[in-house]
Amino acid sequence: MSEVKIDKLCKSYGPVEVLKDIDLTVEDGSFVVLVGPSGCGKSTLLRSIAGLEPVSSGSMTIGGKTVNDLPPAQREIAMVFQSYALYPHMDVYSNMAFGLKFARTPKAEIDARVNEAARILQLEPLLKRRPRELSGGQRQRVAIGRAIVRKPQVFLFDEPLSNLDAALRINTRVEIAKLHKMLKATIVYVTHDQVEAMTLADKIVVMNKGRIEQSGEPLDLYYKPANIFVAGFIGSPAMNFLGATVKKNGAVTLVDGQELKLKTPTAAKAGQNITIGFRPEHTTLHGNKDLKFKGTVDIIERLGEMGFAHLRLSSGQTIIAEVRGDPGMDIGAATNIGLAEEHLHLFDGNGNRF
């Protein structure tokens, strides 16, 4: 059992709180992604799990064992670093064998493990080369190999794809997903890219300013974001947000006066100021749907089989709508955008979902 349980973890650097009350469970064999903007604390949390950073309070267990006071080597973790951190003066084989040598693993065992990892990652022809002679993608595989040979309870990945170019990133993403299934490993993975998070994770943990904003399955976060931050972070292009006021009859008035009649009752009280949100990909042109938005076309971005239309509402705010095919719109034309009510999100004054 290699479950990771984190309970009320806090970490401060002097007066600055970098992690606040983190509660997180990583189930055995699951792929958990920590995602969030720069400075949100995701790397700090990962390094705390690894034992590279001390924590101020709270507890962490790995595989049932409390690890708060254990050094990294005894936590049965393995880490893949952002810049791979390969030892430049050793060849690939030695890089992977290094930690095992210090753990006094018998030579035959080391040999077996390194060769097995090399086979899985297709590194066999590279075993005698030095990191300097490898490409970025190859180096990354060696870094992963180094982690595999440790046979850890948990794999920790710190933004492993950020140093790769775009095409390689997509390929490697798929490779990592395959590796997860093959090894049935427990993985905690940090990235700032929400696409990586969505595609790889069994569970996504969105962090912001040291706190967990929301954690759950990717589609849960997509369809039911708990607050404006998560709603705006997940999904690309980002969700449209408009301020609105609630009316007595269950309708919602936008700033520019447009009224949207809602069929389902909400917990929102009359007179309350709220924020509504909807994703560009849920809009339709010339909407024949429950809710309509009127605006004039400002910019059209055409990408081939789809495009994004930026509409200006009479209040001056802009919303983005995704359109299929060539919209055939003109700049400046007045247009209606339609939205099914089920795709409308309502957030209260604090940014939380109703």
């Binding site: 030892y87 003066h89 210090f102």
Partner: protein
């Protein structure tokens, strides 16, 4: 002609070849001239001089490598020469064995993450390097002097009072004592150079080693140390060049005769004495030049050896 110098045209569009040449001359000539006249020419002139032997009537006769032969084999010259050479080797060995490991250890400690007062330690430990050897030499002479008795006092407090002796005045201890004083003064340089090299090692590499199960000491030995070998090589060659060029400290403490009984005589003092003369001998231009040329050859051999043997293998350790 100006075409040739500039490689066939001006490097600047719109500037004629003639003006381009003047431009280059303006910027380069002063530096190149001073350097050539006072640095390069004298070196070659010295080598040239060493090929001539001064005659009793004051003229110079071409002697080929004869001077070198005399220096190395004729007892009047070769005895002091080999003595100085041997002493210089001891001098160098003591520096390599004491100065560089201490510098390495200090650098390793200073480069520990989250070390408070790091800058203060660095500044203070480097201070002796700043002072002139005259000061260092004389201060230590006072401290080690039996008249003042400070060192004796210190040794007595740690129970080693019996070890005390007028080390500077004794033939068999003078050289070692002076060498250690020189080490004391110059430890700052390897310390700073190695420290800078250690800083260049990415922190992530040490994290990886920590995750791999190494403690701080092991990480230093197996990860950091191999990666700073090029710097250690550099420090070694600098030590070599400096040691075989040394003069100031010994002259300051022992004068040109480098006593007692030439036991502290090294190449630099031998050279000075030969060229300028002293109460024992007249100055000798030819032999002085010969000694200088020998020093140059020795240093050159050392540098070449370093470049070819060691530098090539150091490539392995680059990032």
């Amino acid at each position: 002609m100006s075409d040739q110098a500039t490689g066939g045209g001006s490097g600047i569009i719109g500037m004629g070849r003639g003006s381009y040449l003047w431009l280059l001359v303006f910027f380069l000539a002063p530096a190149v001239l001073i350097y050539s006249i006072f640095s390069i020419y004298p070196l070659f002139a010295t080598i040239f001089n060493s090929l001539y032997l001064r005659q009793p009537d004051g003229s110079y006769l071409f002697n080929g490598l004869g001077n070198f032969h005399t220096l190395l084999t004729d007892t009047t010259w070769s005895a002091p020469f080999w003595n100085a050479f041997r002493n210089n080797c001891y001098f160098f060995l003591i520096h390599m064995a004491v100065q560089n490991p201490i510098g390495l250890a200090l650098a390793a400690m200073l480069s520990l993450p989250r070390l408070r007062l790091r800058a203060a330690y660095r500044t203070l430990i480097f201070m002796p390097t700043m002072l002139s050897v005259v000061i260092i030499g004389f201060s230590w002479q006072l401290i080690l002097s039996p008249l003042w008795g400070i060192s004796k006092m210190f040794l007595q407090t740690v129970g080693l009072g019996f070890l005390f002796a007028p080390w500077l005045g004794q033939e068999n201890t003078a050289l070692i004592t002076i060498s250690l004083i020189s080490v004391w003064q110059f430890v700052g340089i390897p310390m700073i150079l190695i420290y800078t090299a250690l800083l260049a090692i990415p922190e992530e590499l040490i994290d990886a080693a920590t995750v791999d199960g190494l403690n701080q000491f092991q990480a230093f030995l197996w990860v950091k140390l191999p990666l700073i070998l090029p710097t250690i090589g550099l420090v070694s060659i600098l030590t070599f060049v400096n040691n075989f060029n040394a003069f100031d400290l010994i002259y300051a403490m022992k004068g040109a005769l480098a006593g007692p009984n030439f036991s502290a005589d090294i190449m630099g003092t031998l050279f000075y004495r030969t060229f300028f003369g002293n109460q024992l001998q007249l100055g000798d231009l030819s032999m002085g030049s010969t000694i200088a040329t020998m020093m140059f050859v020795i240093i050159l051999i050392g540098v070449m050896a370093y470049l070819f043997l060691i530098q090539r293998r150091m490539q392995r350790y680059s990032f």
